[in-house]
Assembly symmetry: C2
Homo-oligomer: 405 residues x 2
């Protein structure tokens, strides 16, 4: 059985966190100087581990073990959200590196290739690197994408990073038994259950909507309450109705969020003539998702019928829940039980991950370690050292079992 | 009794509407080329009417009748809201001009001075011209003010308009019996009551607030509903509570408005950690205003106590209702009854007007004519010609009565 080197693992994780350090976290946006330097450092670590590294035309770093035999691909992403945590993505990449080294040292059957995808966090697109690797990103989309914060075209960013003109590496599905990704949970299910490992069963679907209200802009002093068509008030009433209704329709792990509200023109003395909200919900159960959508549609129809404002629902996206491979789940669970008996659970992922893209081409599995306080997308994000080490050992054992099978 | 010239009145109103014409309305922002040209044209009309015109250092146009005897000041403002109506402000200015001419022609006792204030609509400040005229605008405030749409400093705008360096005219309260202002109603009380004239009893107070919600920004997928601190949801719940509670506390003519809502960071997949709403209410009754504020304070305190978000109320401004002079109300009512028996009512003004500033220095009175459909601050704003003519005749008769008293 492969044995990981805890000190080497934590050392590499801490070294990676120096690229773009921000308080106790990192600020390492996609294709920033810090991200580019970190990818170069990763390629060097891969080469040291006897892998053949490539940084491709979209910034993916892939380290392949030369020779024949069964292969597993292990990794995640190494850029970060803005001013965010040191483990989101980085953990899964360094796990890949350490498991590749441990498996190689043990000279069992097969080997591990390691990958760090670019732009999972979506500074430019969404899952840009893993979609490129899986043949799901066309040149025309690369032409069109731009940085969501400063508007830099993706092409210019790739040029500046030195990646432009390189070929984009493509997955060879026949090379791999599948893909494994480790990640911090980013929620508090594990912590609040007193457990140390989560075996991901599926990655939630996210259904996103824009709800638009049309009223009549008017003077906030002279327009009587009785004759107003206040689009903002119509929005508040619908949002309050959703707040009442959704808990009745939701499953145990359903989440729903209004992330943005806009009133037009947004002036203190003008009755809003238009209003808009962005609403989303997430679940792993397709039937539940349909139920939730029906409830939303009913409330919007009721709001529209009640008047005096028009209310319209617009679906922005409906993703499909991505099931993780059952044999990979079993392998991860057996390894978890071996190293931490009774301290693991099967659970869905409520966030999106590169594994949901890879799952479209090869079997995929995911392992979670606890997030302290459930905090993520914040510089204070953290996980106990012993949980980081345990997770990596479990992943190494599971990878060895999959390669031996 | 002075008799106005309907054709001359409507002709001047239509000529003024050519400065910055926009569809059937006007776009004549404060100190725009169109506004400056319109003020020059007004000064020439005043001179033609035998008044001595001055355009002062803030852009106020004042036409004074030479000689001794009792004086009334009549007018309003001549700039417009952006892409708005042709009568808001302009009506009161041209009424002043026409009444000055009619009174002069009749050679009764006393005379009328005419004024067009600058920036009542607040492109730079609020009631900038009338506050200047009443000694309520300091040089330091002029230094600080800037265009709310494009940021141009007020000083630069005055320079470009050619007004910089001129003295700012100040009201001589002892010169005047008082100030009269006519205005379109901007609401639909008159129209829906089948009446043609409104005698303003008082100008509403506006109490404005910012309500701030502090939660915890987090991942919209991985954060369970039970542990969220969603500042946006806290805002929606308070806004819904206000929607329930305010009708119970409000008077017959109270109005309340949420003009702006902001969620931070405003991203679809992030639980808002901060939220803010701008809320205001208007009434003419100080006791009612206090009741409304108490209700607001209670709801905010309940929201804060309910958790999990903090909720804080911040008062931005509390104006005082401005009473119109009782003898002026009587004079206007008697004139209204004479020219349109039974077709008038006393009513408060739900919008702010220059008269509320002038009322701080001299007795003030206001007359409303109906707005078709209650529409204002929109290019389609209009009033029937016969109502425009009637209103001016009533104002002339009331002015004559006040000057004779």
């Amino acid at each position: 059985m492969p044995t990981i080197d805890a000190e080497r693992l934590l050392g590499d994780l801490r070294r990676l966190a120096e690229f773009g350090r921000y308080r106790s976290g990192v600020h390492r946006p996609t294709y920033s100087a810090e991200d580019v330097a970190a990818r170069q450092w990763l390629a060097e670590r891969m080469a040291e581990a006897g892998l053949e590294p490539t940084i491709d035309g979209i910034g993916n770093v892939i380290g392949r073990r030369p020779g024949a035999g069964p292969r597993l691909l292990i990794g995640s992403h190494s850029e970060s959200q803005n001013h965010a945590g040191w483990l989101d993505g980085a953990l899964g990449v360094i796990y890949g590196l350490e498991v590749a080294r441990a498996i190689q040292a043990e000279s069992g059957p097969g080997a591990v290739d390691v990958v760090s995808f670019a732009d999972e966090e979506g500074h430019y697109g969404a899952f840009t690197g893993s979609r490129s690797f899986c043949g799901l990103l066309e040149e025309a989309e690369i032409d069109a994408l731009a940085n969501r914060y400063d508007g830099t075209p993706l092409r210019s960013a790739l040029e500046r990073a030195g990646y432009a003109g390189r070929p984009r590496e493509q997955i060879e599905p026949e090379r791999y038994r599948g893909f494994l990704e480790a990640h911090i949970e980013q929620g508090d299910y594990l912590e609040s259950s007193g457990l140390r490992l989560g075996i991901v069963t599926s990655i939630v679907a996210i259904w996103q909507y824009r709800i638009v209200f049309e009223g009549a802009q008017n003077h906030a002093g002279t327009t009587r309450m009785a004759i107003r068509k206040d689009a903002g008030l119509a929005l508040v009433r619908l949002a309050a109705a959703l707040d009442k209704r959704f808990p009745e329709v939701a499953g145990e792990r359903t989440v729903w969020t209004t992330g943005r509200i806009t009133l037009e023109p947004g002036a203190p003395s003008i009755i809003p003539g238009q209003a808009e909200m962005l609403f989303q919900f997430r679940d792993v159960d397709p039937d539940r998702l349909s139920l939730l959508e029906r409830a939303l549609e009913e409330l919007v129809a009721e709001a529209d019928a009640a008047g005096p404002c028009r209310c319209r629902l617009e679906a922005l996206s409906r993703s499909v829940p991505k099931l993780m491979d059952r044999r990979f789940q079993d392998a991860l669970e057996q390894a978890a039980e071996r190293h931490a008996p009774g301290q693991h659970m099967r659970m869905p992922s409520a966030a999106g991950h590169d594994a949901q893209i890879l799952a479209q081409r090869v079997p995929a599995g995911m392992l979670f370690v606890p997030s302290i306080g459930g905090i993520s997308h914040h510089w204070s994000e953290n996980t106990k050292d012993e949980d980081i080490v345990l997770g990596c050992q479990v992943m190494a054992s599971a990878a060895a079992a999959i390669l031996q099978a």
